[in-house]
Symmetry: C2
Subunit: 182 residues, 2 copies
C-alpha cells in the first residue's frame, strides 16, 4: 500500500546508485528490478523529477557532461542536498507500519560495509519476529480446534501461509544478521 512520499526517495536512490539517469531509465528499473516491491509509471516519474529538481535534491545535467547524450533525454544527478536527504531517509528506523520500506532501503545501500546495513537488518529482524509471533497468536485464538478450521478454511490457509512466510523471512534475516556481525 502506497506510503506518503516514498517515490522521491526511490528516484533519489536510483540516481545515486547509478551516478546519472534519465526518467526513462528509471521507468525501466521499476519494470525490471523494483517491480517486486514498488511500481511507478512515467506519468508519476517525470513531474516528480521536476519537483525534486525545484527542491534542489537533483540537478539536470548539462549536455556536454552527459554520457552518450542523444535525443531529448534529460540526465539527472544527485546534489549534495539530495545525498543528505537520501542518507537521512535510509537512517530513519523502520516502524511496524513502515515495514514494507525495508527491501526498498536495502536496495539502495550499495556498499557491503555501509554502517547503515547492520541496524536496518536487525531492526527488520525485530519487526518480522514480532509479526510472526502475532500471527502465531492469532492462529491459536482464531483456530483453537478443527471445527473452527472447517468453518473458515480459506482464512485458516491464509493465516498458515502468513506464519510460514514470516518464519522464512525471520530465518533469512537471522542468517544475514549473523553474517553482518562477523
Amino acid at each position: 500500500m502506497p506510503k506518503r512520499r516514498t517515490l522521491p526517495y526511490i528516484l533519489l536512490g536510483l540516481i545515486h546508485s547509478n551516478q546519472q539517469m534519465t526518467g526513462y531509465q528509471m521507468m525501466q528499473e521499476f519494470k525490471h528490478e523494483i517491480s517486486d516491491f514498488w511500481t511507478a509509471s512515467h506519468s508519476q516519474i517525470y513531474p516528480e523529477l521536476q519537483r525534486m529538481a525545484d527542491d534542489g535534491w537533483i540537478r539536470p545535467l548539462a549536455l556536454g557532461k552527459k554520457v552518450a547524450s542523444k535525443r531529448n533525454q534529460t540526465y539527472y544527478q544527485v546534489t549534495t542536498t539530495g545525498e543528505q536527504v537520501l542518507t537521512e531517509w535510509l537512517e530513519t528506523p523502520l516502524t511496524a507500519n513502515d515495514d514494507e520500506l525495508f527491501p526498498l532501503k536495502l536496495f539502495f545501500i550499495d556498499d557491503q560495509n555501509s554502517k547503515l546495513l547492520p541496524p536496518l537488518i536487525s531492526r527488520q529482524l525485530e519487526l518480522s519476529t514480532e509479526r510472526r509471533n502475532y500471527l502465531r497468536h492469532r492462529m491459536t485464538t482464531v483456530f483453537p480446534n478443527q471445527t473452527a478450521i472447517q468453518a473458515h478454511y480459506g482464512h485458516y490457509l491464509t493465516l498458515s501461509r502468513g506464519i510460514e512466510r514470516e518464519s522464512n523471512y525471520v530465518s533469512w534475516l537471522k542468517k544475514l544478521d549473523a553474517e553482518m556481525k562477523r
Copy 2:
C-alpha cells in the same frame, strides 16, 4: 499496490463469510485479520457499503432481524446478486498482475471442498513458479560475478531475498496443491 475496485469484493466476501456484519466489524477485520494483505479505513468502508447497497449487492437488515441490535449500527447481508458477483470474482483466474489478489480470494473460500479452491491454488503455483524463475534469471544476468555483487550489494540482497521468498511460496503451494488432489 491498490488495484481498481478491490475493496467492494473484500467487503462482500466478509459479509458473506459472516452472514451479517456492520461497517465497524469490517473495520476490525481489516485491523486484525486482513492487515497482512489489505487495509481500509472506516472513511472508505462506509461510503462503499452505501454504494454497494445502491447497486443491490448487499442490503441493510431490518432492525427486527438483527442479532443483538443495539445502538445505531447497520447490519448488512449479501443479496442473491451479491453472491453471484462474489462467485464471479472468485472464479476469475489470476493473472501475473493480479497475483496479489490470491490471499484475498483464498481468504473468502470457507468450504474446504469448494470447487473454487483447486484451480485458484494451482494457478497461483504457476504464477509463483514463473516469478521465481524470472528472479533466478535476473540474478544470473544482473550479478554474473563477484564484482557486480560488490558494486550493488543491497540490490543483490533484495534479489536473493526475492528468490528465497518465492521459492518458499512455491513449496507451500506445491504441498497444498498435492493435498487438494488427494
